[in-house]
Structure formats: structure tokens, C-alpha cells
């Protein structure tokens, strides 16, 4: 594989870190300037990432070595198709989230806004670092940075509840970090390298028992952020955070980083062949299926809208991992593309929840009667997201589900088809009441009967992400070429072409 050496990955990572410190330096005195740093950094980051797409599409990888610690132990960026995928998702959605955040915090007159935007920018720095890291060590470095950078956002409200949520978040993620540190040290000790390699590099570097042990450790470590049951408990609790943060946590950065980590482990550390030989993939698939279905059922029981969305996230993330662990061409394609599709749909849904919170001060599903007449754009976008997540065409969720279902046939494991279908049914069960209540129920007394939307800064981003979800459903290769990149990544992993 051709390697292009370029410092662009570094700049893609650094630009938001520079912005973070500019934000800190500007502070509360000049809000517009502070916010413009966020926007500029968001655009710059996306453009830098996007400018590398053509190179990736030629089948090359872009590499930049930052620091060498020890032979075989480096801080290095390498962008392959899979990393590019995550980088594109995160950097494009950050722009939307930035605009939305500005609308949100100003509408609510939130406190500590400087800290908020600072932490946000740091989160994105670490996320892009995760996406572009060339090896497990670099991955861990940025993964831990992400943990720390998210903490101020989770406890933004500074209430007792928020602080407890923050503690819970740390208890889960830092423990996971320790497990990962140990597991990665073990991998290094066994294999002498940590470089991700399409198709895995661990084959033959230890006994079967040891490799299975390592696999379990790594998946547990990354699974915490990915919300694999029973390690998901922190996620609904973290819903106490402001809504843009939840959107970021759930769609852009944190959980997706966890899933990205799991996929890296499955496809780039162990690889399909080794996992087949170890025979662990099927057990793993069953465990993940449990999460898929279980989270769906739990979501039905939630009245708090954001908590309902949180369980839907757990459900979808598990589907992505299930797609990867089925180890067939279609299921992997479905899993990887679902990372993007889910991100766009879920961020729409969270944006809607936030808009409802800001405008109507309502957080519970049972309070939404008739609100759709007051906020048609918001509820329309919500409907698109919900339809997409249920796997109904023409929204992009359909494409991922199609490939995931195809994958179950290829793997000859029809039972997982049942899992996917059950999950889609559950999606309908817990999302459609929201739409139904919003549009068709008799309005409650406090609903304004005419058009009265949330601030434009919030409505526009959520409309755009909703529209993009449809566009990616009709033309999956539009704009940023998610589909081609996914295909390329899968080809690399399977060693074809």
C-alpha cells in the first residue's frame, strides 16, 4: 500500500486544540469572537480532513509520525479508509453541533460558556486524534484525553446530580482506561508492535487462551464507551448534560469512539481470520445481540426523551459492532456505514430534543402532545430521524440495515436477522409515539397553537442534518463519499483488490 507522508493529519488534530486555547484566552469578554473561533476551527478541520479524501480514495494511506518513544512504540497518525470515515463523521458533525451549541447556550443563558466551548474543542481534538491514530498507543492517548475532555461537559450543570453523573462517567471510563492500558501493554509484549493492520496483526503471537483473554480485555475496555451491556450504565446517567453535549457524546465523539475502538480491535488488531480460528466471534455476536434487543426493550420504558434516545443509541451501536463481528463482507459494510448513518440520524434526534427543551421546556415524552403544530420543523426532522433509525427507506438507515441483514445470510446465521428485525420493530415502537403525539394528539394547554419554533441557530442545523440523512439515503455516495470509503475499508480488511 502506498504511503503518503504529510503533516495534514497533525493539523487536522491541532486546529481545534489551538482554537480551544484561543477560546480560553478570549473568554467571556467577547462572546462573538470566542464563538467565531469555534466556527473557524470547525470549518478548517472539516476542510483539512476533506482535502485528504481523494488521496484515500486512490487506495493510499497518509502517515505522519509525531514522536518515537521506543522501537515499535510511536505516537503516529495514519489515515486509512476506516479512520477517514470516522474523521469525516466527526468533523462534519462538529460544524453542525457548533452552530447548534451557540444557539442553545445563548437561548438558555448557560453559565461557564467559555469552559463549555473549550472542552468541546478539546473533545474534537481527541476524537480526530482517535480517528487518525496509527496504533493502539496513539489511540489510547487520545482516547484517555477524550475521557478527560468530556468530563467538564458531563457535569456542566454543577448540580449534585450532575456531579454524581460525572463521577459515574469517570468510574466507568477510567477503569476501562486501566484495563485498556494493561491489555495494550500485553499486546505490545506479545506482538512487539501496536500498528493497526487491515486484517489484524495478532495472529500467531500467543496461545489461543491468551489471545481470547486479550480480546475480552480490549472489547471490555472499548465496550464501556460503546455502551455494550452490561457496561452501559453511565450513558443514560450522563443525559444530565446539556443537549448539544448529549448529541456530541452520542453521535459524534464519545460513544462512536468506543465503537470505532471495538471495530479497530475486531478488524485491525485481531482480524476476521484470527477471530474465526479462535471461534470467539459467535459468542461475542450473541452477547452483542443481547445488547441490541435489551436496549430496545429498555428504551420503550423511558419517558424522559433523552434517556429514550440514549437507549436507542446503545441499541444502534451494538448493531454496528454486531455487523463487524459477523465478519462477512456485507455485514461489515453495513456496520461501518451505519457509523455514519446513525451519527447523522441520532444527532438530528438529539438536536430536536434540545430544541424542544429550549423552546417548550419539556423533557418527557408524555408532555409532547400537540407540540408538533407549534414546532413543525423540529418534529418533522425528528420524524425523519425516527423513520431512518427504524430502517425505512428512503432515509439512510435503510441502507445500513439492508447490508446488515444481507450479512446475516452470508454468515449463515439467520438468527441475527431476527435480531435486526426485532430491533427495527422496537425502534418503531418507541419512536412513533413521539411523532404521533406531536402531530396528531390534541394540544396541551401550554402549547402555542401557531408556528413558534426554537431559535434559528438551532433549527437550521437540525434541518440540515435531517435533510442530509435523506440525501445519504438516496445517494449514499453524495458529497463526502461515505459509501466508497466504506467499500474501500472493507476491501482492505478482507484483502481484496
Amino acid at each position: 500500500m502506498d504511503v503518503v507522508y504529510s503533516s495534514r493529519p497533525l493539523w487536522a488534530v491541532l486546529v481545534s486544540m489551538i482554537a480551544a486555547f484561543l477560546i480560553l484566552a478570549t473568554g467571556e469578554k467577547n462572546r462573538n469572537l470566542r464563538e467565531s473561533w469555534t466556527i473557524i476551527a470547525g470549518l478548517a478541520k472539516f476542510l483539512i480532513v476533506f482535502s485528504m479524501v481523494p488521496v484515500i480514495m486512490q487506495g493510499k494511506v497518509i502517515e505522519y509520525t509525531l514522536i518515537t518513544f521506543y522501537p515499535g512504540l510511536l505516537l503516529q497518525f495514519r489515515i486509512d479508509a476506516f479512520g477517514m470515515m470516522f474523521g469525516l463523521i466527526a468533523s462534519s458533525l462538529w460544524i453542525a453541533t457548533s452552530f447548534y451549541s451557540i444557539g442553545y447556550v445563548r437561548a438558555l443563558n448557560e453559565h461557564a460558556q467559555t469552559r463549555y466551548f473549550f472542552a468541546f474543542a478539546m473533545c474534537l481534538t481527541s476524537t480526530i486524534g482517535i480517528a487518525f491514530s496509527a496504533n493502539l498507543l496513539t489511540f489510547l492517548v487520545f482516547y484517555e484525553m477524550l475521557t478527560v475532555a468530556t468530563y467538564p461537559l458531563v457535569i456542566h450543570k454543577e448540580s449534585r446530580e450532575a456531579i454524581i453523573a460525572g463521577r459515574k462517567y469517570f468510574a466507568y471510563t477510567l477503569t476501562a482506561g486501566c484495563v485498556l492500558l494493561f491489555a495494550i501493554a500485553m499486546v505490545y509484549y506479545q506482538a512487539g508492535t501496536l500498528d493497526f493492520k487491515a486484517g489484524g496483526f495478532l495472529a500467531g503471537s500467543g496461545s489461543d487462551g491468551l489471545l481470547i483473554f486479550l480480546f475480552v480485555l480490549l472489547i471490555c475496555g472499548f465496550g464501556v464507551k460503546a455502551g455494550i451491556m452490561p457496561l452501559h450504565e453511565w450513558l443514560p446517567t450522563a443525559m444530565i448534560a446539556p443537549t448539544p453535549v448529549s448529541a456530541l457524546l452520542h453521535a459524534v465523539a464519545v460513544v462512536t469512539a468506543g465503537v470505532f475502538g471495538c471495530l479497530r480491535v475486531i478488524l485491525y488488531v485481531f482480524g476476521p481470520v484470527l477471530l474465526h480460528d479462535l471461534g470467539i466471534w459467535l459468542i461475542m455476536a450473541y452477547i452483542i445481540s443481547f445488547t441490541v434487543v435489551g436496549a430496545g426493550f429498555l428504551a420503550v420504558g423511558q419517558d424522559h426523551l433523552k434517556r429514550r434516545l440514549a437507549f436507542s443509541t446503545i441499541n444502534n451501536l451494538a448493531m454496528i459492532i454486531l455487523g463487524a463481528i459477523l465478519l462477512t463482507r456485507s455485514s461489515m459494510t453495513g456496520g461501518i456505514i451505519h457509523m455514519a448513518n446513525h451519527a447523522f440520524m441520532k444527532i438530528t434526534l438529539f438536536f430536536c430534543a434540545g430544541a424542544i427543551h429550549v423552546k417548550a421546556h419539556k423533557d418527557y415524552v408524555s408532555q409532547l402532545d400537540g407540540l408538533g403544530r407549534q414546532m413543525p420543523l423540529t418534529f418533522g426532522a425528528f420524524a425523519i430521524g425516527a423513520i431512518g433509525l427504524s430502517g425505512i427507506p428512503p432515509v439512510n438507515g435503510f441502507i445500513s440495515k439492508w447490508y446488515l441483514c444481507l450479512g446475516t445470510f452470508e454468515a449463515n446465521q439467520i438468527i441475527f436477522l431476527l435480531v435486526f428485525l426485532t430491533s427495527s420493530t422496537l425502534d418503531i415502537v418507541f419512536f412513533f409515539p413521539v411523532i404521533y403525539k406531536g402531530f396528531f394528539k390534541k394540544p396541551l394547554d401550554d402549547v402555542t397553537p401557531h408556528f413558534d419554533e426554537a431559535p434559528m441557530m438551532m433549527v437550521i442545523p437540525l434541518t440540515i442534518t435531517a435533510l442530509l440523512s435523506i440525501i445519504f439515503g438516496i445517494a449514499p455516495d453524495a458529497f463526502v463519499r461515505f459509501f466508497s470509503i466504506t467499500t474501500l475499508a472493507v476491501q482492505n480488511i478482507l484483502g481484496i483488490g
Binding site: G166, L174, G177
Partner: protein, 499 residues
């Protein structure tokens, strides 16, 4: 030139410490600039020595021109040059920081304070540089005696803590002295290089075993390895801020250095690992140190006491690295000597600044400290993350190598202890961070308006405190990022070749 540097490192602070009273008698205010100026010289000299070692290999300086093994020799190799640099840099930075806090806490004792300060630094540097076991004892006592004095001028309980330290410290030093005696009976030599040549023929002699045991216990007392750490929490937490900031990072580290010297230079690794079953004992003690230190730290509300108990755990880290006795574990241990010195110094400097500004060390009284002292608290946060082993701070990298070492040795319990300690540290420090950054003084923050929080005036520490703190905090990150270079150019040569 390099040989002169070796002499300067000891001679300059020693002589200048005796000049401090003279200067203080003339003009009290001049003591501080004098001490800072004097302490620059060991830094430069240490750099020169390290440079010489890196270019031409290890060398020695013969004191008074007497040839070893009869004369006293200053042995400069990678390990000692490296530790010299750490000691001299940290003592300089702490000295810069000390100005205001000494004026505040010890207004009438500045002159004796600075005299003893320089003597203490001399002692520490001497322990590191000397290649003679008896000379090491002398320097050990120079540093300990000045340390007793410095601790005793602290707050209310300090004299009692200092007296207990005198008693236990003397037992430690005497054990060390006895060890020398037994070695001398068996070999007739006091020179480390000479000893390491003679000893292998005598490895099965009982006398040597006894000597080794005395050495180990003596250094364990001085280095505060569990369970012989009992003197430390009282002594270090009641000492004046600047004193704790100097001794907490350095005394234990220097003792750890002596331990590595004894086990792997005077005695060969072959002896320390295979003939005497000391490594498992040390390793398990270190595991207990980590857990006991961590749990005791959880019980403290005084942040300085909390840090001292963390120090107990950190000593455990280094000892684990020594006790796995392999190349990579020892690399981790030596790296952690540096990293922990930087982290501890930074923490104690921050605590000193906070105490100077707010007069409190209770972690539950630190509300809104991030608004009052944003830079200080930023440094605190960075260092706290380093203690929790979050990359890319230096704490992560020493942990990485230590864990690789334990994996290499197949010691899973040690690895678990190292990881568990990160989590305990996270709890410890985030207790403080929560309080300082996020705990509202007012009733809970109302969601519908941002006006409820108070306007807090910024009240940052004076520059003489802030600059050292920021340097150390930057150091915590930079030492992490460049740990690879440090290992490949210095530490890998500092690890004994016989591994």
C-alpha cells in the same frame, strides 16, 4: 572541564551554605537571591557532567587526587548524572518558589532556612555523586540532619514529628553504617566499583548476606517504603511548605537511587535476584505500600497529608520497578524517579501557593479556586491527570514501562496494583478538582438562568510562585512527550548492562 564540574556540584553549595549566615547578618533580603544564584551552578554543572557522560562515557573524579580504592571517588555514569540533574533542577525551582512562602511562614527564620536548604541540597547531590559507600553515609547524614532542622521549624506538631524522624532516621542510617561495616570486614574496601569487583567471589558468605540485609532495611527507612514509612506523613505534612516541596520529591527518590545502586551496582543483579530472595519481599511490600498509601490518602482532608500518603504509594511504584528486576521494569523505575519528582514538586508547589493565598489546606474549603487562581489550578489539574496516568502526561509513560516490566516478569498482582492505584489517585484528585472547579457555594445552579453564581475576583499567586509552578506543569507534559528521547539517550544506558 567535566571533572571540575563534578567537584563544583558539591563544593559550591556546601561552601555557599556557610556564607548564607554571613550575608544574612549583613542584609537579610540578599539571602534569597544568593541561594537562587548558587543553585544555578549545580544545574549547569550537572548538565555539563551529563553531557560529558553522554559524549565520552562514564568517568570519575578523585577527591584530593587520591586514587581509588583508597581515596574518595565521585563516580559519574548515566544514572548518577541523570539523578544529579533531577535533584539540582528541582531544588532550584523550589528555591525560586520559596521566596514568598518563607517570608510568610517563617519571617524570622529566613537565614537559617536558606542555610539548611543549601546544606540539604548538598547532601542530596553528594549521595548521588559519590562512589564511596562511607562517603555516601556522610552525605546521607548531612541531608538528614538539615532535614530534621528544616522540619522542626514547621507548624504546631512539627517538632514532635521531627524528633520521631530523628529517631527513625538515625536507626536507618545506623543500619546502613552497620552494612558498610560488614562489607568492609569481608572485603576491605569501601569503593563501590572496587566492591562490585570483589564481591562476586563472596556471594555465599553469611557476612555479605547480613550486610545486604542491613543496607536494604536502612534504605527502606530512609526511603519510606511501607511499613517503615510511619515517620513520613507527620514529618512532611507539618514542615513548612517550601521544605515539603523540596524533601517530598527528592528524599525518597534519592533513597530509591541508593537502593538501585546497592542492588545493581555494588551487588550484581545476579546476587540481588537469585541468591537473596529479596525481590519478592520488596515487590509485595510495594504492593502493600500502594494500597495502604492510597487508602490512607483517601481518609485525609488536609491536601498535604494526602499528598504524603500518595508519596508512600509512589515509592511503591519505583520499588515495583526495581523488584521485577528486568530491563524494562528498571527503565520504568528510573523514569519514574524523574517523573514522580516532577509531579510531586509541582503538587507541593501548588499546595504552597494555595496555602499562601487562601491559608487553607483543607480540600473541602477550596471552592471556586479555579476562578481565584486559574493558572495554579490548571497546573494542579495537569499534574493530577499525570498521577492518574492519563496520557500524554509523564505519569502515563512511567506506568506504561512499569506495567510492561511486570508483564515481562509475569507478576500480575504488581500490574493490578499499579492499575488500581491509578484509579485510587483519580478518586483522590477529582475530589479536589470537583471542589475547586464545580462545587457551587450557592444552592444548586438553577437551569433557567446563569446569574446565580458569584463573581469571584481573580487572586493569583505572585509571579515568584507562579513561574516555577508553570514550569513544572509544562515539564510534566513535556517529560511525557519526550520520554522516548530521554529513555533512548540516557535511561537505557543507566540500566545495568547485566540485564
Amino acid at each position: 572541564m567535566a571533572e571540575q564540574f563534578a567537584a563544583l556540584i558539591i563544593v559550591v553549595p556546601l561552601i555557599c551554605s556557610f556564607l548564607v549566615p554571613v550575608i544574612g547578618w549583613w542584609k537579610k533580603k540578599l539571602c534569597y537571591p544568593w541561594v537562587v544564584a548558587v543553585l544555578v551552578i549545580p544545574v549547569i554543572a550537572a548538565l555539563g557532567v551529563l553531557n560529558a557522560v553522554m559524549t565520552t562515557g562514564k568517568f570519575s573524579y578523585r577527591l584530593g587526587g587520591w586514587a581509588p580504592p583508597w581515596g574518595i571517588e565521585y563516580a559519574l555514569d548515566y544514572l548518577s548524572a541523570f539523578v544529579l540533574l533531577i535533584v539540582s533542577v528541582i531544588s532550584l525551582i523550589v528555591a525560586i518558589h520559596s521566596k514568598k512562602s518563607v517570608e510568610e511562614e517563617l519571617p524570622e527564620k529566613t537565614v537559617p532556612f536558606y542555610t539548611l536548604y543549601l546544606l540539604l541540597v548538598t547532601g542530596l547531590l553528594g549521595i548521588v555523586i559519590t562512589g564511596d559507600v562511607f562517603n555516601l553515609f556522610v552525605f546521607l547524614e548531612i541531608s538528614s540532619l538539615s532535614c530534621y532542622g528544616l522540619i522542626a521549624i514547621g507548624e504546631e506538631g512539627a517538632p514532635i514529628a521531627a524528633f520521631n524522624y530523628v529517631i527513625l532516621g538515625t536507626i536507618g542510617a545506623c543500619f546502613y553504617l552497620l552494612g558498610i561495616g560488614y562489607l568492609y570486614i569481608a572485603t576491605g574496601s569501601l569503593n563501590m566499583a572496587d566492591l562490585s569487583g570483589i564481591l562476586p567471589n563472596l556471594y555465599h558468605s553469611k557476612v555479605i548476606l547480613v550486610a545486604f540485609a542491613f543496607f536494604t532495611v536502612g534504605i527502606m527507612i530512609k526511603g519510606a517504603l511501607f511499613p517503615l514509612h510511619i515517620w513520613m506523613p507527620d514529618a512532611y505534612s507539618t514542615a513548612p511548605s517550601s521544605v515539603s516541596a523540596l524533601i517530598a520529591p527528592l528524599m525518597t527518590k534519592v533513597a530509591a537511587y541508593v537502593m538501585i545502586r546497592i542492588m545493581f551496582t555494588i551487588f550484581q543483579p545476579h546476587f540481588s535476584v537469585e541468591i537473596v530472595p529479596v525481590m519478592p519481599i520488596l515487590g509485595w511490600l510495594a504492593v502493600f505500600a500502594i494500597f495502604v498509601g492510597g487508602i490512607k490518602a483517601l481518609a485525609q482532608t488536609d491536601i498535604k497529608r494526602m499528598l504524603v500518603y500518595i508519596l508512600v504509594a509512589e515509592v511503591g511504584y519505583i520499588v515495583i520497578g526495581v523488584s521485577v528486576a528486568n530491563q524494562i521494569g528498571l527503565t520504568g523505575a528510573i523514569l519514574h524517579i524523574m517523573n514522580d519528582a516532577a509531579m510531586m514538586a509541582c503538587m507541593f508547589l501548588v499546595v504552597g501557593a494555595v496555602f499562601y493565598k487562601t491559608g487553607t489546606r483543607n480540600i473541602y474549603e477550596m471552592h471556586y479556586l479555579n476562578k481565584k487562581m486559574p493558572f495554579t489550578m490548571a497546573a494542579f489539574t495537569i499534574t493530577a491527570l499525570s498521577f492518574c496516568g492519563i496520557p500524554p502526561t509523564c505519569g502515563f509513560f512511567s506506568k506504561w514501562y512499569l506495567i510492561l516490566g511486570t508483564i515481562d516478569a509475569g507478576q500480575w498482582v504488581y500490574a493490578a496494583a499499579l492499575l488500581g492505584s491509578s484509579l485510587i489517585n483519580a478518586v483522590l484528585f477529582f475530589r479536589v478538582i470537583e471542589c475547586a472547579y464545580f462545587k457551587p457555594m450557592q444552592p444548586a445552579y438553577a437551569n433557567d438562568g446563569g446569574e446565580t453564581h458569584l463573581e469571584i475576583q481573580r487572586d493569583e499567586a505572585p509571579l515568584s510562585m507562579l513561574v516555577p509552578i508553570i514550569i513544572m506543569a509544562a515539564g510534566v507534559i513535556l517529560l511525557g512527550l519526550f520520554s522516548g528521547n530521554i529513555i533512548s539517550s540516557i535511561i537505557q544506558f543507566a540500566v545495568p548492562a547485566s540485564f
